[in-house]
């Protein structure tokens, strides 16, 4: 898994590449935690290049969302591949974490 972070006008864009599994996901939570501590509160997560996510990946997304809730922040997901989208739908996470078709669409709602 690789993360790249870009500061955009309306929020912070984090692009995730590769796999969010039990080995790699803690790194996502740690990096987002670091950004939140630095004062970032509005995130769009670009998942176009994320090939795979397991419940460990969901755990790290949920932990980040909970952290942001206390700061009135937002985490929005964009451009999910079919198998990643399926995991969010099966788990019901798609009802608690907003999902958008594109990064532009997500950014526009911040």
């Amino acid at each position: 898994m690789e993360l790249s972070v870009k500061n955009e006008e309306k929020g912070t864009l984090v692009s995730v590449t590769g796999r969010m599994d039990a080995v790699t996901s803690p790194e996502f939570e740690k990096e987002l935690g670091r950004l939140i501590d630095e004062g970032h509160v509005n995130f769009v997560i670009d998942l176009a290049e994320l090939d795979y996510i397991s419940s460990s990946g969901l755990r790290s997304v949920l932990a980040t969302a909970k952290k942001l809730k206390g700061k009135s922040g937002k985490i929005l997901l964009a451009s999910l591949q079919a198998v990643v989208k399926e995991v969010f739908e099966i788990s019901g996470f798609s009802t608690i974490i907003p999902i958008y078709e594109s990064v532009e669409e997500a950014m526009a709602t911040l």
Partner: protein
């Protein structure tokens, strides 16, 4: 039939996943379905890594086989404490963000993506059998 037996530690997850990835490919699975198989395997293994051997170290063995040309059968065995995740209730997938729990979601995923899942306690081992139709 192919098999891989390694210590039940998270550091071995990648090796198990690449093993099942190869088996799945040989049995004709690719794309989304191949990823669903890896998801089921990861969830089963991570439960074993985390809970099977609370007081020490142990191993986990995975076997992959194509049966009757129709059933892709993955069997995962450990000698850890009795754990029948299948008998536990499904997690609440409608809870609000503050109440949302991750525990139990892994087994739920296995049930959702596989065509069949069975658990048995055999000769002191937990045996989880996950079946995908070809």
């Amino acid at each position: 039939m192919k098999s891989l037996k390694l210590a039940a530690i998270i550091e071995n997850l990648d090796q198990f996943i690449s093993f099942v990835h190869t088996c799945s490919g040989e049995c004709g699975f690719e794309g989304k379905r191949a990823m669903e198989i890896e998801l089921a395997v990861e969830e089963a293994l991570v439960n074993i890594f985390n809970y099977a051997y609370p007081e020490g170290e142990g191993e986990v063995e995975m076997q992959c086989a194509l049966k009757n040309g129709k059933q892709y059968v993955i069997e995962i065995r450990d000698e850890g404490i009795l754990f029948d995740g299948l008998s536990r209730p499904d997690p609440d997938t409608t809870a609000d963000i503050g109440d949302r729990q991750i525990g139990g979601l892994g087994i739920f995923f296995i049930k959702k993506v596989a065509n069949e899942v069975r658990y048995s306690r055999t000769d002191g081992m937990n045996v989880l059998t996950i079946v995908f139709l070809v």
